[in-house]
Point group: C2
Chain length 353, copies 2
């Protein structure tokens, strides 16, 4: 029987609750598909600060690098927001991404027919929408040097090298090959030099993928087009900060942020996590929606472990559970037949497998 | 009789058509309110490149600085997109903004009841929405030094000084005082040093405006909230690139980009322009919507000339024209009783005054 080593980072707020449900579903599907998952838990974020004094303990970095993949809940909370910048949960997260070398952040935004009313956008605008946002995750202005703030003047550097753009660009084109064969590269090349290099490099990569159509869009227009006509997009590829903004915009196309998974991949390992945050205000009440985390677990099976059948089983179960009207509180207003708790949702999805 | 000197920059594409209609309406309202507008035309953008070899002739800079205000159409087009960066229309526009010292870009996003269906967002989400986006326009990553692209590595600098943040912040608070007294400052302070200075400075300014409520939002969340629940916002203040993205997102809340005006103001002069572009594909066909430009002219009367009554007259006329079902082609699908040309729309609005 195949065995995989999975790192779990539950994190803060609702993190532990939603990761527990994902583990429940993972174990069920592992049983059904005859493989075993060995989990090991690591600390990160606020809980790591409280227990070890730093947001990203060395153990976590070393442990996750040795595992096959990492399932991650969410981190952060007001409690730690006033700490010095280098001790904050977010700093730990950014350092973690960098140490893991996960340069490609993949955020699918797929509209489920069952929840087409959950978006603030009109149903006819979003029906059937299926976008993959490919965001560069360990470069750009997030990590650029120099950076400083002396209280009178502050600056950051948005920087990309050609190899950095090439590796993320290739990822986007590879995805497009398996989808509708269209890549829209988003930049601000009419203003920024770094965007000009981005655009020129995308054009070069495109030569190796003659079957894929490459278009370019300025970031302001892309933000607009995601609201005006999201169905025009197949794969969107963009830099770190633009991707941060646009993938959140894309999530609003779907509407229900409690459904949206993400994968961060690179050459060493991969991290799977819901796109929503740690929501400390609803932690411990049993009302968090675990589906985004369970979807992330499915992505992990598909992309990191190659357990494609198991991944599909989870995805199908989720769709059927939604079709049958089970909803956590966040989606109670959208064709719910029964409103269930976090743990009940995990049980029901596991049962459907 | 009061006389004002107005610079006109018609620009490229549909620019000349829409500015002509705004002038028509301005002259009508000037007659009705007993003042005179003296116009002088200047070149900028593609037409300036064609006629003078540069996108921003010195004459334009000097002329506009001497005038009371500038009404601006739109510039740019594919024809000039392959020119070297420093000869492109956009470079002219950025230099123009800088030379004019217009640090505050004001973009109201107001949902007209008559066109509540023109947005892709559900009517109940946007009804009554009235947002003012205050974007810093001559700093940040648009102008930051150093910047370079050697073909292997490229970078730009996002930089703000405290005085730059103070002057735009004050503008936002002043606007809020005349509105619902709420300022939402948008940044990425969890990642960027420059955003931390932005946030700290906004907090300091807030002390001088105890009646105004200041909140902070990360830019990714703000992009999301503009789609999820735009009515929560009163005044949004943010830096140059975030403002570029968010004001376009906000325009989609309104839906009809042909309706949205903007003002760029500073200590020397002010520029008024529609937020839409030069739309070369529909130029010369008489189908462009001149309302955004006419609205911009109304803003000019209000903010630069102090002709508040005349401004209101224009705004009321536009609302009534829309209420009575007159639409240009772009809005023909939204409760149109009669579809009219660019020039007819100008005539009708002038007649309603
Ligand atoms: C928490 C924050 C640093 C992070 C980011 O900006 O990358 C988050 O917004 C995300 O998108 O994962
Ligand atoms: C044309 C471009 C340089 C400009 C900008 O980015 O400022 C435009 O998008 C705008 O918002 O006025």
């Amino acid at each position: 029987m195949k065995r995989y080593n999975i790192s779990l980072i539950k994190g803060d707020g609702i993190g532990p609750e939603i990761v527990d449900e994902a583990v429940k579903v993972l174990d069920t599907v592992a049983g059904a598909c005859s493989f075993t998952l060995d989990y090991k838990e690591y600390l990160m974020g606020g809980i790591a600060i409280d227990e070890t004094g730093v947001p990203l303990p060395t153990e976590t970095v070393e442990g996750v690098l040795k595992s096959d993949a990492c399932l991650f809940g969410a981190i952060g909370g007001e409690k730690w927001d006033t700490l010095p910048r280098d001790l904050r949960p977010e700093t730990g997260l950014l350092k973690f991404r960098e140490e893991m070398g996960v340069y490609a952040n993949l955020r699918p935004a797929i509209v489920y027919d069952e929840l087409v009313n959950a978006s603030t956008l009109k149903p006819e605008v979003i029906e059937g929408c299926d976008i993959m946002v490919v965001r560069e995750l360990i470069g750009g202005i997030y990590f650029g040097q120099p950076r400083a703030n002396d209280g009178q003047k502050a600056y950051n550097t948005m920087v990309y090298t050609k190899p950095e753009i090439e590796r993320i660009g290739k990822q986007a084109f590879e995805f497009a090959m398996k989808r509708d064969k269209r890549v829209c590269s988003v930049d601000k090349a009419n203003v920024l030099e770094v965007s000009q290099l981005w655009r020129d490099t995308m054009e070069e990569i495109a030569k190796d993928y003659p079957a894929v159509e490459l278009t370019h869009m300025y970031v302001d227009n892309a933000a607009m087009q995601l609201v005006r006509n999201p169905k025009q997009f197949d794969v969107i590829v963009t830099g770190n900060i633009f991707g941060d903004i646009l993938s959140d915009t894309a999530s609003m196309v779907v509407g229900s942020i409690g459904l949206l998974p993400s994968a961060s991949t690179g050459d060493k390992t991969a991290i799977y996590e819901p796109i929503h945050g740690s929501a400390p205000d609803i932690a411990g009440q049993g009302i968090a929606n675990p589906i985004a985390t369970i979807e992330s677990a499915a992505m992990m099976l598909r992309y990191s472990l190659g357990e494609v059948e198991a991944a599909s089983k989870i995805e199908t179960a989720i769709r059927n559970v939604l079709k049958d009207g089970y909803r956590t509180k966040d989606l109670a207003a959208y064709d719910a037949k029964e409103v269930v708790t976090t743990a009940e949702m995990g049980d029901i999805i596991a049962n459907y497998i």
